[in-house]
């Protein structure tokens, strides 16, 4: 028996060299996770109930089918390291500069020019409970990818005001025992909503402009909509078929935010006039830790009047348009950690 609090999580901050080649320990970090479940392995069996010729309709034999690995959520307080990791592995085109701190510039990769086609970087995921001779759990899942993420900014105090949840998928390939000695737990450089240093959406400055103190919350999300990765030659583990690739489908980038309504609010005018503009969201902890999401062309799709805790508010659903020169969105993250997605 073991308490779930004994569960140790580590995963590759560097990328695997191939989907079936695990991270080396030097490129694995260890972090806490607010998701209290381990990543379950789900082998699927099938039987012969549909086959006639047995003389009856009942199944008589079991067959190994495939690993149907569920998606797994890494839920953390937003930090410079974790945001750099989440954005890099979910979007794919990463340029890193500097010699400490390091600045990561991240854009969604294009299928036509991405060196790995429609595939994003892969990483390994290690989960352990009492690793060693009598481990309760010790395995490394190989060939994991980031399916999507959600960044939530709330009108509340503390680290919970800036959260990032990342949904991951994996092929079904694993090694057990992992053979990995996890490093000491990382101390991330976390943000909170009080550290927002730029907040301008579609021409409205919600931080220092005439609309200051008007902002309530924001949710931004990215979804890669991976296609199933089973194909001839995709591989097997324990006699079960595994997935051999995760190719992005129709990717979706969503942004919703809530603002207090005041006299002269221009959100409605922006919506009905089809006004578009850039959107800049920045959190700055210090000179070594910052995060900026620059949406190149945002319009408003919905502006719904409501109330939040008794205050009249508008819930705005943005529509992020692709700009032919600058693309859709640029994430810029400065963090002390080197080698993320490298």
């Amino acid at each position: 028996m073991a308490n779930i609090s004994e569960l140790l999580n580590g995963w590759g901050f560097g990328k695997q060299t191939a989907i079936g080649t695990a991270n080396l320990v030097a490129t694995i970090w260890r972090h806490t996770n607010l998701n209290t479940k381990p990543w379950a392995k789900v082998p699927v069996n099938e039987d012969d109930r549909a086959e006639i010729g047995k003389g009856h309709e009942f199944p008589t034999q079991l067959f190994k089918s495939h690993y149907n690995m569920p998606a797994y959520e890494l839920s953390k307080y937003a930090s410079s390291e974790f945001l750099a990791w989440a954005m890099s592995f979910s979007m794919g085109n990463v340029a890193v500069s500097g010699s400490g701190p390091y600045t990561y510039t991240i854009l969604p990769a294009l299928g036509a020019t991405n060196p790995t086609g429609l595939e994003l970087p892969y990483f390994s995921f290690v989960q352990q409970i009492r690793p060693g001779g009598s481990a309760v759990l010790d395995e490394m899942l190989v060939g994991c990818a980031v399916k999507g993420w959600k960044l939530s900014i709330k009108n509340s105090p503390g680290r919970a005001s800036a959260m990032c949840a990342v949904e991951c998928v994996t092929t079904g390939q694993y090694t057990s025992p992992s053979g990995i000695t996890l490093p000491a737990i990382s101390t991330p450089h976390e943000f909170n909503a009080g550290m927002i240093s730029a907040l301008t959406f579609n021409g409205i400055n919600y931080l220092t402009g005439g609309s200051a103190k008007q902002f309530v919350s924001m949710e931004a999300s990215w979804e890669n909509n991976f296609r199933p990765g089973f194909f001839p030659g995709s591989g097997s583990q324990d006699g079960y078929q595994i997935q051999g690739r995760f190719e992005w489908g129709d990717r979706a980038f969503a942004v919703q935010f809530v603002v207090r309504v005041q006299a002269g609010s221009t959100e409605y005018a922006n919506l009905i006039n089809l006004t578009t503009g850039t959107a800049t969201f920045t959190m700055t902890r210090d000179a070594n830790n910052s995060f900026t999401m620059l949406i190149q062309k945002m319009g408003f799709n919905v502006a719904e009047l409501g109330n939040t805790d008794g205050i009249v508010t508008l819930q705005i659903t943005g529509v992020q348009l692709y700009d032919p020169t600058n693309g859709m969105v640029t994430m810029t993250v400065t963090t002390p950690l080197q080698g993320i997605c490298q």
Partner: protein
């Protein structure tokens, strides 16, 4: 000035200033970062030209 080496979809490699504005324009059109060439290495653009012309 921080700089990075970027490679175009056509294979051209050039050193660019690592600002969000400059990198965004390149990366949005398919450029990717590549390692800095070592001092002994010729720039890829030059090497390709030599290969074409013998």
């Amino acid at each position: 000035m921080n700089s990075v080496f970027m490679r175009s979809p056509e294979g051209e490699v050039k050193e660019v200033e690592a600002t969000t504005e400059k990198l965004t324009i390149l990366m949005a059109s398919g450029w990717h970062q590549v390692p800095a060439p070592t001092a002994a290495q010729k720039p890829v653009v030059v090497a390709e030209e030599e290969e074409q012309h013998g």
